[in-house]
Amino acid sequence: MSNTHLTEEELQSYALNIPADIEAVLHVNTCNHCQLQVRAYQMLYSQIRESDTPALDLAVEELVPAYLPNMGTSEIMEYRYLYCLLFIAALPLAALIIVCWNMLSWLFSGIFTSALLLLLCSLLAMGIWELFRNHDKKINTLKPH
């Protein structure tokens, strides 16, 4: 059995019933000092749990605005404008690539092709991984607890 007192962190975890190692349990069972600290933490936790929830000094109806939001035309139009802008910006870029194809063809020959493919594949893999993580997070959030 250990003769050293539990650290503050161990005392907090012990009082939260987070499994402690056997040495810590044996020590607390025989140490008045640590027992007092654990009891103080347990009392603190239970008092916080049992404390009253403050009440908002407002009727619920007062908090509902007169006009509720509407994901209506303005929001949808915003997205349409964005897509249009992106499309318009992509057009000159595509035109530039077609016009300067002879100058850019070295990008798609020899070692550059492999390097470019590797880069694109890595970016694609990272994108898919990020999408998967976001999707996973959203699904976990929406699962009932």
């Binding site: 503050e8 962190e9 907090q12 007092l36 600290q37 009891r39 103080a40 933490y41 009392m43 603190l44 936790y45 008092q47 916080i48 749990r49 049992e50 404390s51 009253d52 929830t53 403050p54 009440a55 908002l56 000094d57 407002l58 619920v60 109806e61 007062e62 908090l63 509902v64 605005p65 509720l68 939001p69 509407n70 994901m71 929001e75 976001n134 997070k137 959203k138 959030t141 929406l142």
Partner: protein, 192 residues
């Protein structure tokens, strides 16, 4: 019980009943955050109205990155923190510049009002805890309430406050330690 998606859809279709349901399902969380961060009673009402106004205004922009209640919690926290910053009442606890128990001046509680020699009723204990909690920095008392009273996970607290995981854990650790030490000062061993 409505899912987050259904609730948002109904609110955006103008259903006031769904809006009331959203308020009812989040008012406890909002009240905890507002009451723990803001000590001035007159400001609480205005801030609560502001929080729900922002919630409904920005609802179409909610992207389901977290639970709807967590998002409302985020709005509550940032609205209150902004208010404290404007009033210059916020004690910044930046890493490396964190206040220790000795640094934080805490109000002395009149010992005559707290008869610790007797067994105390639940109400009296609650009052003592409330007074002791008020001596903590606002962010500390909010975190401790969210974790122990609202029983939110560290991840949810991170989402609400925007604080990194290490900071949340460290603030929680310090807040518990400070409160425990203050409780030990006010209670006899028999009371524990």
């Amino acid at each position: 019980m409505l899912s987050d998606q259904d609730m948002i859809r109904m609110i955006m279709e103008g259903d006031r009943h769904a809006a009331i349901l959203l308020i009812q399902s989040t008012e406890k969380l909002v009240a905890h955050i507002v009451f723990k961060l803001i000590t001035e009673p007159s400001a609480r009402k205005d801030l609560t109205q502001d929080i729900y106004l922002k919630t409904f205004r920005y609802l179409p922009k909610f992207r389901f990155q977290c639970k709807l209640s967590t998002w409302v919690g985020q709005i509550s926290y940032t609205t209150c923190i902004d208010h404290l910053r404007r009033r210059k009442e916020l004690v910044t606890l930046a890493p490396g510049n964190e206040a220790t128990d000795e640094d934080i001046p805490w109000q002395e509680i009149n010992p005559e009002t707290l008869d610790v020699s007797q067994r105390l009723s639940r109400k009296e204990r609650a009052e003592i805890l409330e007074k002791l909690t008020l001596t903590l920095p606002p962010v500390y008392r909010t975190l401790i309430t969210l974790f122990h009273k609202e029983e939110l996970s560290i991840d949810e607290i991170m989402d609400i406050t925007g604080l990194p995981v290490g900071t949340v854990k460290s603030y929680l650790f310090r807040a518990r330690k400070m409160l425990k030490e203050r409780l030990l000062n006010y209670y006899s061993k028999e009371d524990l």
